[in-house]
């Protein structure tokens, strides 16, 4: 559940960012497409990293074992 929600948050952030970029500085179709590509790439990379770390911790095979003298 937490996974899907956060994924949705990432998608929403991406859409909002692209809309902002389009609204506040609209520079022409080819540059707009470049900006969109950059935003999508950035959001994908960030989401991928978060998803990997989240999935790795969902069903862990090892647990934290505290070291002595804490």
């Amino acid at each position: 559940m937490g996974f899907l929600v956060t994924t949705l948050i990432f998608v929403v952030v991406g859409v909002v960012a692209s809309l902002c970029a389009r609204i506040c500085c609209d520079v022409g179709p080819s540059t707009n497409l470049l900006r969109l590509t950059l935003i999508v790439t950035a959001i994908s990379c960030c989401w991928m990293m978060w998803a990997i770390v989240y999935l790795a911790q969902m069903k862990p095979l090892i647990v934290p074992i505290l070291s002595e003298g804490e």
Partner: protein
């Protein structure tokens, strides 16, 4: 060349369409036209006179004139530097100063300046001489009478000893009566002067030896150093007085004085004349001083006026030189009334260039307008990307490896994001990220100031890459939050940790550890992991798998880009016989591995993935038992293995045969078409035929394809493993950070003493900045760059193009000699 495909074009993805244009310019307006084209900066001239030497070219004389003017300007700059003046950096808009007028003016100024310098030097040396003379007069006046008396006495003794001795040194100045009447006055000659202090002892010794002790020398030290008239430097000197008798002695002394560069000045015998001479010399000195001062003032004024106009003249001369350099590249047409220029320009610039040419025709009052004419050629145009200050830095690091071939996909587009991202994966610490961001924001804020200044080499590089570093810092902050490291300290920022003790007393926290009780920590690595015994096994496993996943993703992106390239260049062979088998091979092996990783994480299975992958190859038909992750896994693995094995000959064999067939088809058609081209007068390009006359070496093509296939197949394994450097550097960074924090800062804190704490903090800051912020940044930068240049780009990038260097005056202003 071809439509991009589905959607509209993207700015930076492919080179701007370029065209080869021919300009026919009448001679009167040639200079104006080239000057305006330089201002526009969108036309790259081709050298049409490449086979001529620099002296055979049309405008060689003008180039020489420009060279002369540049030399004069350099001379002025040196003179100004000696005076300590800097040329003013204000830039004037100039249209009016004619080159001939400028040349004449520079010539005048140069001769005047040289004259002033020469006169000034002469005056200075005269001044120094007079100063020395004054010193000699003053000093010698003190001990001259005394010395003379002693010398006379010594001489009398000497004469008395050698009475009747027919020695060679018979004094000529002495009267014959001297031998009989010692009371008569002894006539001695004297020299006074200055000798440099270092040489004074040697001077004395040699004088004694040469004259066999027949002279009387007295020296006195002058306290302050004196300016030597010949060399112009301050030297310590001694005043000397030499009394001698005899003509031969006099000549010897003269020669020795010359050898030791001792300056001699005449000193009168009696005191009255001496005072008079001192007065005269002082008057002359003050006159000379005023003359010298006036001269220096005049020179300073002249240099001041030069300084105010210097930059303007400098730019003008450089511009002229550049214009003539370009004019030398143009060739004359048959009528000898026009110059013909050939060059590359972007298609979008056509109207701008035509407007510029029209303006040149009007401004230079030419009868005929210039003609702009597009040529068709098979040559490869230069590559031109329109970048702004942000994308320029990223494009440069891509170009450093190889400039994109004309109109192939530019990896720079994705590099803008993936390069800082991969850097951040290796750097992940939001404390360090913030430090880096602050440092680079300083550069970005002071952009305008820094871009005008001349910076040192390293600062120049950092300033040039300020946007790259800014992106790197921003992504580092993000990955820092994901790895949960702030100078290696974790924080519980995004919600409660998922792990707690099994029992309330936490008795076996150190033996069997904590348990996962809550939902997974929502963002990043759980803070409870830091400092535990099992932290490294967990993080290593996580980071290695993350590296593989990111690597496979980036490599797939590379292969997909090669598909878009093939589609753009309408190369169906590449799509079916390169893209498809490559995708199948990579994904059936490493894509499958990525899938297994994700499934293992989602199901929490205990399967050993190493075992699964290795036995997929060694014994694919074996039963999986405890390594089974999903139903039908064995069947799927066998299919994927067969697909991968099939993909290899699919990449290797069909393409050479199909290429051969294509070549034969083309060759069949071509042999009829050759006759058309000879009659066309404008098609002077003969290189277009060379492509088709190239022999098709079947053996070469097969070997090429074999190398390509082996490279891909082996590269699939090695490149995937290469991405593990993401894990390695990230581990190194976090371990270093942890050591500095635990062993320096916490240790210093534990001593409960202010001094130790301060020392500890200083060491911590120095270590963090030196090792982590500088060395690790460079290291991660380098490795991220390598991952892009090799592992990403070898999937699709050819990079054998050449860059578009338009003729532009802005580029010469950066080019300071």
């Amino acid at each position: 060349m071809g439509d991009g495909g589905c959607c509209q074009t993207m700015d930076l993805l492919r080179s701007e369409p370029m065209q080869l244009a021919q300009l026919i310019i009448p001679i009167e307006s040639a200079h104006c036209a080239v000057s305006y084209l330089g201002d526009l900066g969108l036309f790259q001239f081709k050298d049409l006179n490449a086979d001529k030497s620099p002296f055979q070219r049309t405008y060689a004389a003008q180039m020489k004139r420009c060279g002369e003017m540049a030399r004069k300007l350099r001379f002025f700059r040196e003179q100004m530097k000696k005076e300590g003046l800097l040329p003013s950096t204000k830039s004037y808009r100039s249209n009016d100063l004619d080159m001939d007028m400028l040349e004449a003016k520079l010539g005048e100024l140069e001769t005047e300046l040289i004259e002033i310098n020469a006169n000034s030097e002469k005056l200075q040396s005269t001044y120094a001489e007079l100063l020395e003379y004054k010193i000699v007069l003053q000093k010698a006046g003190e001990f001259f009478p005394l010395a003379q008396r002693s010398a006379t006495a010594q001489q009398r003794e000497f004469e008395a000893q050698h009475m009747g001795d027919g020695s060679i040194d018979s004094p000529l100045l002495l009267e014959q009566e001297m031998i009989t009447d010692p009371s008569k006055q002894v006539k001695l000659g004297s020299f006074t002067g200055l000798v440099p202090r270092e040489k004074s002892i040697a001077f004395e010794r040699i004088l004694f030896r040469a004259t066999r002790g027949n002279v009387f020398l007295k020296q006195a030290v002058i306290e302050d150093p004196v300016i030597d008239p010949i060399s112009g430097e301050k030297v310590d000197k001694n005043v000397f007085v030499i009394f001698y008798s005899g003509e031969r002695t006099k000549n010897k002394i003269l020669k020795i004085c010359e050898a030791f560069r001792a300056n001699r000045y005449p000193v009168a015998d009696d005191m009255a004349r001496q005072y008079q001479m001192i007065r005269e010399v002082s008057e002359k000195l003050s006159e000379l001083k005023t003359t010298i001062d006036v001269g220096l003032l005049h020179r300073a004024n002249m240099l001041q006026t030069i300084g105010s106009q210097f930059e303007l003249w400098n730019i003008m001369v450089k511009k002229e030189k550049y214009i003539y350099h370009v004019l030398n590249m143009l060739s004359f047409d048959v009528t000898k009334k026009c110059l013909v220029a050939e060059g590359w320009c972007p298609v979008f610039a056509t109207s701008q260039i035509q407007k510029v040419l029209q303006r040149a025709t009007l401004d230079c009052n030419s009868q005929v307008g210039a003609i702009f004419h597009v040529l068709h050629t098979e040559e490869f145009p230069p590559t031109y990307f329109r970048t702004n200050k942000f994308t320029n830095a990223f494009q440069e690091i891509v170009d450093a490896y190889g400039v994109a071939k004309y109109q192939e996909a530019n990896p720079g587009v994705y590099t803008i994001i993936t390069f800082p991202f991969l850097f951040a994966v290796m750097f992940g610490d939001w404390g360090h990220g913030i430090c880096l961001l602050l440092a680079t924001l300083y550069f970005v804020m002071q952009e305008k100031k820094f871009s005008g200044q001349k910076l040192g080499d390293i600062t120049e590089m950092i300033f040039g890459g300020r946007y790259i570093i800014m992106m790197m810092a921003v992504f580092s902050i993000y990955t820092g939050f994901i790895y949960n490291e702030f100078f290696s300290v974790p924080f519980e920022l995004f919600g409660p940790s998922a792990y707690q003790c099994k029992q309330l007393s936490c008795r076996d926290a150190t033996t069997s550890g904590l348990v996962k009780v809550g939902p997974t920590y929502p963002f990043g690595v759980d803070p409870k992991w830091h400092g535990t015994r099992t932290e490294l096994p967990f993080l290593n496993s996580l980071k290695m798998k993350m590296s593989i996943l990111l690597g496979v993703a980036q490599m797939n992106l590379g292969i997909v880009l090669s598909y878009y390239n093939a589609k753009f260049f309408k190369n169906d062979l590449n799509i079916w016989y390169q893209f498809v088998p490559q995708m199948i091979f990579l994904n059936s092996l490493f894509g499958y591995l990525s899938l297994l990783i994700i499934i293992k994480w989602c199901t929490g299975s205990q399967a050993d993935l190493y075992h699964v992958m290795i036995y997929m190859f060694l014994s694919p038909t074996d039963d999986l038992r405890e390594n089974q992750l999903f139903v039908g896994q064995k069947f799927l693995q066998i299919i994927l293995l067969l697909l991968a094995i099939a993909a290899v000959p699919w990449m290797l064999f069909p393409k050479p045969f199909l290429l051969k067939k294509q070549h034969e088809e083309r060759h069949q058609g071509r042999s009829y078409a050759l006759l058309h081209n000879i009659d066309d007068p404008l098609e002077t390009d003969l290189h277009e035929d060379s492509h088709d006359h190239k022999e098709f070496e079947f053996g070469e093509v097969i070997v090429h394809q074999l190398i390509h296939t082996i490279e891909f197949v082996l590269g699939a394994v090695s490149n995937t493993a290469s991405y593990l450097r993401l894990w390695a550097l990230s581990l190194a960074h976090s371990e270093l950070s942890s050591v500095f924090y635990d062993k320096v800062l916490l240790l210093a804190w534990g001593f409960n003493s202010i001094i130790v704490l301060i020392v500890g903090i200083i060491i911590f800051v120095c270590a963090t900045v030196g090792v982590l912020l500088v060395m690790e940044t460079l290291s991660a930068f380098l490795h991220a760059l390598r991952l892009h240049w090799v592992e990403f780009q070898n999937k699709f990038y050819e990079g054998d193009g050449y860059k578009f260097f338009p003729f532009s005056f802005t580029s010469i202003q950066d080019d300071e000699e």
